[in-house]
């Protein structure tokens, strides 16, 4: 409990300590590296549960109806849980966890690739440490606020603005590549910020601050865990910032079978 409170305190007030890893301790033998990776994966899984379980219990996620496997009844029934509910919960939990896991994997690839490219890498473990802590705390916070926006009736304008920004981002890349793709929800329609209530404005400000924490934590991770210079750390953050572009380009290529070159 005390450790959790300390981590929350560090996450809010001391991001450098939160994402900072003991690099020398991590540069050990393979056995130590495996132990460190296992520990970090446990941290990530723990944070994932803390993030995804409340979302799933709140009804997020859309898993198509499917019959629960018979073996599940043997586990769920003694716990007083209906096999159908348990199966539905597990499927939606996996779905809700997938977004953050995918985002973490992409962030890790971009972050570590960048520190490797700039020759400032001190190993995989410090990168994994940085990404596990930054994504499972700050990025999960960003996702949670976005979820909140999508459900709260009193902050509709902020929700529309965030969706609009995402659509505009995707369509900018679609238009740049010349791909003949359309999003199911169509092109973005203008959303007036003038209709934003104080709750909308506060929600958008919170989102911006948590996003700032996420970016700053990656910068600190690069500086502290890899001993990168300010310039290299900034480049690393910019590389991670380009990850959504790569993700959208990859999605376009997957949809079309190839990436159109304009």
């Amino acid at each position: 409990m005390r450790r959790t409170l300390t981590q929350v305190y560090d996450a809010i007030f001391r991001p450098s300590r939160f994402v900072g890893a003991n690099v020398n301790r991590m540069q050990g033998r393979a056995v130590q590296d495996v132990a460190a990776v296992s520990r970090l994966l446990v941290v990530f899984a723990g944070n994932l549960v803390i993030y995804a379980v409340p979302l799933t219990l709140a009804g997020f996620g859309t898993a198509p109806a499917a019959a629960a496997p018979r073996s599940l009844a043997a586990v769920s029934t003694p716990l007083g849980l209906s096999p159908t509910w348990t199966w539905d919960f597990l499927r939606r939990f996996v779905q809700n966890s997938l977004y953050i896991t995918l985002a973490a994997a992409l962030t890790f690839a971009a972050f570590h690739g960048s520190v490797q490219f700039t020759r400032s890498s001190t190993g995989v473990v410090p990168s994994l440490h940085t990404v596990v802590y930054s994504t499972s705390a700050y990025l999960a916070g960003v996702f949670s606020v976005v979820w909140l926006l999508s459900t709260s009736a009193s902050i509709a304008v902020a929700d529309a603005l965030v969706l609009n920004a995402q659509k505009r981002f995707v369509y900018t890349i679609i238009d740049a590549t010349g791909a003949s793709l359309v999003l199911p929800s169509g092109r973005p329609t203008p959303v007036s910020l003038a209709d934003a209530t104080p709750a909308d404005q506060a929600a958008l400000a919170t989102l911006a601050v948590i996003l700032g924490y996420f970016v700053y934590s990656l910068y600190l991770g690069s500086r502290i865990n890899h001993g990168a210079s300010r310039l290299t750390a900034t480049l690393t953050v910019l590389t991670v910032g380009l990850t959504p572009v790569v993700f959208v380009l990859g999605s376009i290529a997957l949809s079309l079978g190839s990436l159109p070159i304009p």
Partner: protein, 193 residues
Amino acid sequence: MTPDTDTSLDDAQAPDPRPSTQPTPGESHAESADGREHVRFSTGPSPRPTAVKLGAAVVVGLLIEAILFANPELLGSPEATRIGIYIVSLVALLVVARLLLRVYLLTRYRYVVTDDAIRWEYTLLYRSRARELPLSELRGHETTRSRVQSLLGFGTVRFLTGGTNRSLGFLAFENVAKPERIRELVRRRTKRE
């Protein structure tokens, strides 16, 4: 505790008037004779550099907010500017809360140099921690001064026996007055070891 009133750094120093580890004049060289600890120097970190940062954070935060309030169209529209004000307020609040906590926590630290060891002590809400490095194990020390510390005459002295800056073999005397003299005292004691 008033951290700025640290004890003399001379080897034949006056005793620290504060509790626990201070020797009485009669005990100044008692360690070898009766096994009791002889404190050569004792102080705490000064909250002043952090207080200066706190003041700067408040002033800068208020200044940015004043500019945004005075120019509602600065970020494109009054609503966007209002969001900017919220962001600045949130960040300023976090920074101020962090620095206020730090100012309080700094008053709970105590740094001690004895004849054969350097020690860091910390007490908070009936919890206490202490870390001690034997001078004979000391492998290196460094003194640093940030800009604010330089302006106010403070500095940070770090001592390392081995491991890393997060291991038990590391101690830092943060925001101490006359850091060079502390370092010199430790160096002299180390040579004697």
